[in-house]
């Protein structure tokens, strides 16, 4: 399986990223040990310069993570023709279950690198670089995660055996089966819809409150709800949102919406959800970091921006996911 152009591209990208990350991890260790903003030694000066390198590389890594997540899904999806019984990414991921962990790690790493960039923006806008140690520690946390992602990716693609007959989304995302996917599917549509509506209502209420009032608990609540909304929304995509796109009450696949037959609607859907979660989480993270930063006005301005963009992306996600429910003739009344 290794000689598929998409797989080669993914391997190459992962190798480059892990190497760069390894390099900045070494820098980060030195920053953690010797960083002292009050000192004017030569060492401190060179460390200050190297933090620029760290943030530049992390920016590129975030960009890479975005492209590679899309490429991974797309490659896995396009491989389905080579497996008996597979009709989309689900079947190909089932062909070697390690693939699911790669997918989960990719989602996690994407979120973490997004948050890192957010913290970096706050750090670079405050003259005394108060968050440099925190950033370095985070790099050291990211390194094993991204390296694990690369390793599992290699394991996954090398372990794919096209002779294996896999089960497809039709049998996995059906209410009778076992496992997480099936239990998500088995949630009654009414309850799932109610949960979805509740979480997003809370999200918008807490977002508006935290925009209006300078109360820190609002901001924390907003961030926590955004994480909740992320999880609930992913579950809802499996449970009922995707059904409206397929106009088929039995088809619960979260990957088929990425295919051309459904106008690639999955991409804007997932991308807006991701952006919404990252920006909204940053509001709370900035709040937690507030006491470390001297210029409170910088924090306020950034929080305003993140909260606003969180709300906008959340709205975008809702519009995309609710569009077919409102405007298509398909209903789930009987279910």
């Amino acid at each position: 399986m290794i000689f598929h152009p998409g797989i080669i591209a993914l391997f190459l990208g992962s190798a480059v990223v892990v190497l760069m990350l390894l390099y900045i991890s070494l820098l980060s260790v030195r920053v953690l040990r010797y960083w002292d903003i009050r000192s004017s030694s030569e060492l401190q000066l060179s460390l200050e310069r190297k933090t620029y390198l760290t943030s530049t590389i992390m920016n590129y890594i975030l960009g890479y993570q975005i492209v590679s997540a899309l490429l991974f899904i797309y490659t896995v999806d396009s491989l389905h023709t080579e497996f008996v019984g597979a009709m989309c990414a689900t079947g190909v991921l089932n062909a070697n279950p390690v693939g699911w962990y790669v997918l989960y790690l990719k989602v996690l790493n994407l979120l973490l690198s997004g948050l890192w960039i957010g913290i970096n923006i706050l750090d670079q806008r405050s003259p005394e670089y108060p968050l440099t140690r925190l950033k370095s520690a985070l790099v050291l946390i990211l390194l094993p995660l991204i390296a694990a992602e690369g390793y599992l990716e290699v394991r996954y693609f090398l372990g794919l055996d096209p002779a294996v007959i896999t089960s497809c989304c039709g049998s996995m995302f059906s209410a009778q089966g076992k496992g997480l996917a099936s239990s998500l599917t088995a949630i009654p549509v009414k309850k799932a819809e109610a949960g979805f509506a509740l979480v997003w209502t809370l999200f918008f209420i807490s977002g508006t409150l935290s925009l209006k009032y300078k109360v820190s608990s609002f901001k924390y609540v907003f961030s926590i709800i955004s994480v909740l909304a992320f999880v609930v929304s992913l579950a809802s995509v499996v449970s009922f949102i995707s059904l409206y796109f397929y106009e088929l009450p039995t088809h619960h696949c979260p990957f088929d919406i990425l295919q051309a037959d459904f106008n690639y609607v999955g991409y804007p859907l997932y991308i807006s959800l991701f952006l919404c979660t990252i920006t909204s989480m940053l509001t709370g993270i900035y709040e937690a970091l507030r006491r470390k930063v001297e210029r409170k006005d910088v924090v306020d301005r950034l929080q305003r921006k993140t909260t606003l963009s969180g709300l906008v992306f959340g709205l975008l996600f809702l519009i995309i996911s609710l569009w077919p429910m409102v405007f298509s003739s398909f209903t789930l009344q009987g279910y």
Partner: protein
């Protein structure tokens, strides 16, 4: 936002000021992108083409295997397979390869199948049911042997005697990918040419009513007649798919070394800043640019170079593959044969290929320029301006 636009403007004008140096990088980058994009486009088109053609092939083919080799199948198997529930028509096929010593080519010889209809892909007339001594040939065969309708095609039969066949029709060039090396002759002529034993065919095609049952029927055939090998259409499709993926990936791996060479060039160009460039960055910093601004400048320079080369590379690859039939890579990717069809590929490019291309060209390039541009950005203004 405005700040980024201004920096972009500055980046573009500073790229233009050093035309020659940047032109060198852009041209190498473009070539690398073009080569890799050609490979991707070509294999993808082949896959599509194979898929479209095989859509019309029979759902299930049954061959007989003897001592691990493909052997002739007895016609008694037809009724045995017909007895399976869900099976429609079962037809024997008579075909083989004929090595032509005159031209050094291999012809695919097929005995005139029942139910063939006059279609627009054939010039000339179709023979009647009981006629023999005629042939219908592909345009590649016609060209190789300089034949026209009404001429005679001479073949040597199994006993060494000459078999003379009158050319009744020639397949048009537009169907070349399917019919280029084809010779269709009557059953009696076929038996004489190859000396098939009585009651045997090359293989059987099986029609299955319900497409979801194909796998099941294939299993039953294998159980019923253990010396056969049922081949389903989806198996053939999958094999082609992985074959072309493999060929494309193989070439890609070969050209990985050229990407590496390019990365070294980019690294070298980015590290070797001239005194003039150093001074420029020094002055920028002296008049108030911050390190992060210089880094942004370098980012936009890299992005412009990547974008220009990437897009030019894709356009050149498109022209190379779809207008010039990929003259550079054809032999490696297509396969080879004396009578090779000469065909135009259907243009087909999608976002996925562009993503893959981006990953194997732009990502390594950017990675190789990060550290040099950071080195440039941290230069001390006073040290460079003093010279």
């Amino acid at each position: 936002m405005i700040k980024h636009l201004k920096i972009l403007e500055f980046a573009l004008s500073s790229l233009l000021r050093r035309k020659l140096k940047n032109l060198a990088i852009v041209s190498v980058f473009t070539t690398v992108t073009m080569v890799i994009a050609s490979i991707l486009f070509l294999t993808h088109s082949f896959k599509k083409e194979a898929l479209l053609i095989l859509q019309g092939s029979p759902e299930l083919i049954v061959q007989r295997i003897q001592a691990g080799r493909h052997a002739l199948i007895p016609l008694s198997y037809v009724d045995a397979i017909k007895g399976l529930p869900g099976v429609g028509d079962v037809r024997p096929r008579y075909w083989g390869y004929y090595y032509d010593p005159l031209t050094g080519a291999n012809f695919t010889v097929i005995a005139y199948p029942e139910g063939i209809r006059k279609t627009e892909i054939i010039e000339g007339s179709l023979p009647g049911a009981n006629e023999h001594g005629y042939c219908l040939i592909g345009s590649g065969v016609a060209d190789a042997r300089f034949l026209q309708i009404g001429d005679e095609l001479f073949l040597q039969d199994i006993k060494g005697r000459v078999l003379s066949l009158k050319v009744r029709g020639i397949f048009k060039k537009s169907s070349q990918i399917l019919t280029n090396d084809l010779v269709i002759i009557s059953r009696p002529d076929f038996d004489r040419l190859f000396g098939f034993p009585e009651g045997h065919a090359t293989d059987l095609t099986v029609q299955v009513y319900n497409p979801t049952e194909i796998q099941n029927i294939a299993g039953k055939v294998k159980k019923l007649l253990p010396d056969t090998r049922p081949i389903t259409r989806s198996e053939i499709l999958r094999t082609y798919d992985s074959l072309f993926n493999w060929r494309g990936g193989m070439l890609l791996a070969l050209f990985a070394s050229s990407v590496l060479a390019f990365v070294i060039l980019a690294w070298d160009k980015a590290t070797g800043l001239s005194a003039e460039e150093r001074q420029e960055i020094g002055i920028l910093k002296a008049i108030g640019w911050e390190t992060s601004d210089v880094l942004t400048l370098k980012f936009w320079e890299g992005a412009s170079i990547s974008l220009i080369s990437f897009l030019t590379g894709i356009i050149l690859a498109y022209i190379h593959v779809f207008y010039f039939s990929a003259v550079l890579f054809e032999p490696a990717l297509k396969g080879w044969s004396v009578l090779f069809p000469d065909f135009r590929l259907r243009p087909y490019v999608d976002l996925y290929q562009c993503f893959v291309l981006f990953m194997v060209t732009v990502v390594p390039y950017t990675a190789s320029t990060i550290i040099p541009s950071w080195k440039a950005a941290i230069t001390d203004p006073d040290s460079v301006m003093r010279g």
